[in-house]
Symmetry: C2
Amino acid sequence: MSTTISPLAPKSYPDMPEIKGVQFATASAGIKYKGRTDVLLATVSEGTSVAGVFTRSKCSSAPVDWCKARVGGGKARALLVNSGNANAFTGKKGAEAVRLSAEIVSRALGCADGEIFLASTGVIGEPLAAEKFSGVIDDLKVAQGSAGWLDAAKAIMTTDTYPKVATASVELDGETMTISGIAKGAGMIAPDMATMLSFIFTDAAVSPDVLQALLSGETGGSFNAITVDSDTSTSDTVLLFATGAAAEKGIEPVTTLDDPRVEILRAALGDVMLDLSHQIVRDGEGARKFVEVSIEGAECDASAKRIALSIANSPLVKTAIAGEDANWGRVVMAVGKAGEPADRDRLAIWFGDVRVAVDGERDPDYSEAAASAVMEQEDITIRVELGLGTGSATVWTCDLTKEYVAINGDYRS
Amino acid sequence: MSTTISPLAPKSYPDMPEIKGVQFATASAGIKYKGRTDVLLATVSEGTSVAGVFTRSKCSSAPVDWCKARVGGGKARALLVNSGNANAFTGKKGAEAVRLSAEIVSRALGCADGEIFLASTGVIGEPLAAEKFSGVIDDLKVAQGSAGWLDAAKAIMTTDTYPKVATASVELDGETMTISGIAKGAGMIAPDMATMLSFIFTDAAVSPDVLQALLSGETGGSFNAITVDSDTSTSDTVLLFATGAAAEKGIEPVTTLDDPRVEILRAALGDVMLDLSHQIVRDGEGARKFVEVSIEGAECDASAKRIALSIANSPLVKTAIAGEDANWGRVVMAVGKAGEPADRDRLAIWFGDVRVAVDGERDPDYSEAAASAVMEQEDITIRVELGLGTGSATVWTCDLTKEYVAINGDYRS
């Protein structure tokens, strides 16, 4: 947790309404950090549906393995998250640590191990001392409901400079329901997954299979469309919990994808996930600029996304942005290196509203002053039109600054 | 051209023997830089064979297009290279500039356009004023032979902090022959190609098809096994010229790949290319550490190389190296994100001779002091054993420092 808040941080936080059936408590277990909370226990009411999306790393962490093996059951009662230690690349000790963690929680709450979900974030390769959870679990149990959304978000931070929360309301059958989430992440952020950790909760009543389809469907355009440094975490986890408390108001649960209420939920969930994913980019380590990269006219959407990520991950593009240099030649380079269909002589590139290149060369009306004025903004849009087809994609990234190097040159020590 | 020489620069330069049939001259055409040479003219004797390997960028530069269209002819008389402007993404103007450049050279030397090879390096997207070559071509012609290898190497530098030359001798049929080359490159270095520019010359007599096979074969383990920043240039060009002057000594030309002399030439050419490619990494923008990444036990060599490059391109691995932090957890992360077959629980990782991880967790005998001592070295080896098969690969990279960000945050302006 840095003492300097990112200049791109939100200027204010939304009101986060209570979600019936969800309770938070936090504690300081002293896993790594001193003088701050590092454990979050979220309990959800009986019958809560759960869905999850996880890192595609071949070296996934022990808690990711645990959750992947259990999310198919579709039911959850509790989520235990710690910061300071990722419990990743910890071999048999890591698997034993998650087993012990789940046992500590399930014994305290009196529920089944298979309904406990776990996530850990922090240093890779250090054994996690799960017995530290024993020392705080009774306090956490007694304190359920005492922590708010920002408290929950703070307990899971690592190099984040601010807590990340988002919320949306929907009306289903005349009743208002809420979808709210928290996230952490600032570095080691890349598809797939780009999340680090995010936990989203709703009081809507949704069956696990519909919940999973909604979550998976909205991930591509949000958590999987952001990058800070192209580095994919071993621990990335998004979990979506639906307590179903709304059913008490007489609302029928959503149990099929052709239910017309699915699209209402999808839009709101997508908004919350996009909001949280943008906040992660805005807290990108050392970030001073928030950059949207849009590709149009590609052969297909997948091709567009690969080109967009080639630009968004290019160190030379990102350092040029840090230097407020309208160096569109590096955008050309990044398009060229993506390995995707592209015709140099049909390319057009915009920085903000300023077209800097067209038909494979510098725009005849190119104005260095106009392009430079765009680069001085805090939020910058780079748009590339390939002129080949109808494929499009948008991804978000930040600039690459000396502070990124400083933060990551001495993170572990 | 920086005023501060990379701390990883060679401490001395080899003696570079003259190669019969090759002559250099340099000039200051004022393309972008002031007070330094920026044009190299190399002339080669009639009948010289040529081979080339070029960037795979979809947005290749106009001179790359020119050379690709002509290298199949197999014959060369001259090479004109300029620094300061890449003549890339310059549309029809760019194609016209290379045509005019070749015409200026061919008229002065009295040879065919198709035997003139061209390369440009520098800023992308600015039209190249080829007429500037008219002003210096007569001087260059008169001065042929006046410039040495280091002069030639200096004229093609951009953000390089030192000129790059390498040489090797071979004995064919009792006669000594030489293979010598120059290279430039410091940033926008990644497979494929990783070269930026390199020009290699030999007095051996080799037919164009054998020359091309030799060059292509040695590229994978040298210029295509280095990365500074994962960014692939639009301009990468390696040209290999064989003047055949050795034939005057009564040596039969090498015209088939089953000629036993091919392996002698291959070994020497490989040495020169590896030497030059390492020099490029050692001049990586802002580099303070030279890093070898070796993968063993992968399913196949191609898989091993992709994993090696995932490590070598990871900003988090590279910043940890800059910070002399033995953060092997980030190596695990980079293995995991490569998308290649890997079994977390069979992984072993070494920093230098210190095994830091084995069987999917921290080495039981892990010593932070021993691992940290490795990281304090200037040259660092990272070795990963995957335990799956017999595939292996080695690539080279440098660390990612604040100086890289500084150099690239204001390069164009």
